[in-house]
Amino acid sequence: MDARTTSALLYLDGINVSFDGFKALNNLSFVVKPGEMRAIIGPNGAGKTTMMDVVTGKTRPDTGDAVFDGSYDLTALDETEIAELGIGRKFQKPTVFDSHTVEDNLRLALKSDRRARATLWWQESAAEASRVNRILEIIRLPTVRGRLAGSLAHGQKQWLEIGMLLAQEPKLLLVDEPVAGMTDAETRQTAELLKEINRDKTVIVVEHDMAFVRDLGVRVTVLHEGSVLAEGSIDQVSANERVIEVYLGR
């Protein structure tokens, strides 16, 4: 695909995924514009994680189109190629490299030549060192840079993982439940952090915490049984009767 087919950064159209007959995604379609921050909500089993799996190449859809940046067919690429295109993903359960230090975690994530022979002879450049310092500032962890990531508190791990996402310099960040298990103060700071990141990156946040989504103040897509149930501002979707029925009313 050479010609740009859509102005959207992420374009999902008619995506179907089924596992052993269970339809995880059912004709899912939505678009995310460049520079946008989008919150995705939905009850358990609504297909949020499967949607992320499709976008990052972990799961191949049975049918449907997933186009990134108007010209890349995500359904034909694998995880590594998609990561190189500029889609970064934060997992629901914080997954940092426990036996590496905080700095080494960021160094590994830093955008650079990922091939084996390049990493074998790699030496840190001044530019890379200052980038690591800059990210440590953003994620508020400069004082623990030498600690093993495994020894961090839960909230700090979440931030480190967001920092690792930033280090990859992606165009699109997929953030899965960033505030699960965080204190109220940490939750507010995470909202700040995401808004800061959104100044120059497109962000998709999957979240259960309604107060947090309200804090973000962005357009919301509600998923239910593998397809889009409603889309709009948080107030609009909260007023939608179908949404109340399946999700909010419980």
Partner: protein, 383 residues
């Protein structure tokens, strides 16, 4: 540029370890060759050969630690690469016998004459040249590991499934090499070696030289492993070990990393096998036995995986124990002892000897400097 990389990768402990090995490479041959036999300090030749054997096992353990300790690939078939390297060397040594064999055939090894083989099989060609055999010592295990790894890692076979197919690999080779028509001496393997590069393999001088060479190979292997694990490549390996799919989503091609390290490890195991064969004087299919590969994994577990020095120490310790117990009244119980050793180490000493020692040292240092070890207060991270 190379030297700076090597220098950067060797910390004080690694240098001390290399110095000890270098000392042994000089001391053991000196005590054997230069000290008169009547002296109490004289080291008998059989011990030189025994130490040489331990050194080869240590190199095998090092190759396993590189993939298991750092990349989480538990190969239970690494003995196969060791044995293939050994067979390549054995084929060279067989061709050196020439007309001195029982049947005095200048070309065919004895077992081929015995089996009425009319001529040398094509795959035995070239093994009369040491350089060719040395190349095969690296290439045969390397290519097998590359092909095996290419299929296994690309299909994302991991964990216990990978371990099982490595067992199957070595078992299949065991069955193959047992067959007479395979052309490698069947059940008896290759033995009755006479010369290596014109020197008598039995002579004390040759044995001493082989020991020194084995230690040199171990040192080289250790330096290569250190350079790799100290580089960013090594950090990626650890990342793969701890969170493989995370590494993939970061954009690293996990299978290339695994394939490279697995192939390199197989080549190291092949070299270990090649040095082993002239020192023990025989190579036969029992080296492919799955139990051998598992034993090698136990050495690494005992010494401490992911420590490199631990692999070497574990190999020497366990094999010394094996020599000690199997030559006494306890011989029938050795396998029980080995099995219980593995259970005890897994339960009580999961970091192994060296790992536990390092952990203890780090903890002591952190206690000595409490301000560094105390959880650093982070603004906002109130919990």
């Amino acid at each position: 540029m190379m030297t700076s990389f090597v220098a950067r990768s060797l910390d004080r402990g690694a240098l001390a370890f290399l110095a000890i090995l270098a000392g042994l490479a000089v001391l053991v041959p000196a005590l054997n060759l230069l000290v008169p036999e009547t002296s109490a300090l004289h080291l008998p030749t059989y011990l030189v050969a025994l130490f040489g054997k331990y050194t080869c096992y240590a190199l095998l353990a090092l190759s396993i630690d590189l993939i298991w300790g750092y990349c989480g690939i538990l190969s239970l078939g690494h003995g196969a690469f060791f044995a293939l390297g050994g067979y390549a060397m054995g084929m060279y040594l067989m061709r050196q016998i020439g007309p001195r064999g029982v049947y005095a055939n200048p070309i065919l090894p004895d077992f081929m004459v015995f089996l009425n083989w009319p001529e040398l099989p094509v795959y035995w060609y070239g093994f009369q040249y040491f350089a060719y055999a040395a190349l095969m010592v690296l290439l045969v295990p390397g290519i097998l590991a590359f092909v095996f790894g290419w299929f296994a890692f690309r299909s994302r076979v991991t964990g216990v499934y990978l371990s099982i197919i490595t067992q199957a690999l070595t078992y299949a080779l065991l069955l193959g090499f047992f067959r007479n028509n395979f052309g490698f001496g069947g059940n008896n393997g290759l033995t009755d070696f006479k010369d290596i590069l014109g020197f008598n393999v039995q002579a004390p001088g040759t044995r001493a030289a082989l020991f020194a060479l084995s230690v040199a190979a171990l040192m080289l292997g250790f330096v290569i492993c250190r350079v790799i694990v100290a580089s960013k490549f090594g950090k990626v390996l650890i990342a793969i070990r701890d969170a493989e799919s995370r590494t993939r989503f970061l954009g690293y091609r996990v299978e290339s990393y695994k394939l490279f390290i697995f192939t390199l490890s197989a080549c190291m195991a092949g070299v270990a096998g090649a040095l082993y064969v002239p020192q023990v004087g025989i190579i036969n299919p029992s080296e492919f036995a799955p139990a051998n590969s598992i034993e090698a994994v136990i050495w690494v577990a005992v010494g401490g995986r992911g420590t490199l020095t631990g692999a070497v120490i574990g190999a020497v310790l366990v094999n010394y124990g094996k020599t000690y117990f199997t030559s006494g009244a306890l011989a029938p119980y050795w396998l029980f002892l080995l099995g219980s050793l593995f259970v005890v180490v897994t339960l009580a000493l999961p970091r192994g000897v060296v790992g536990t020692f390092r952990h203890w040292k780090t903890e002591r240092r952190e206690r000595a400097t409490p301000q560094r070890a105390a959880p650093v207060a982070v603004p906002g991270a109130a919990e």
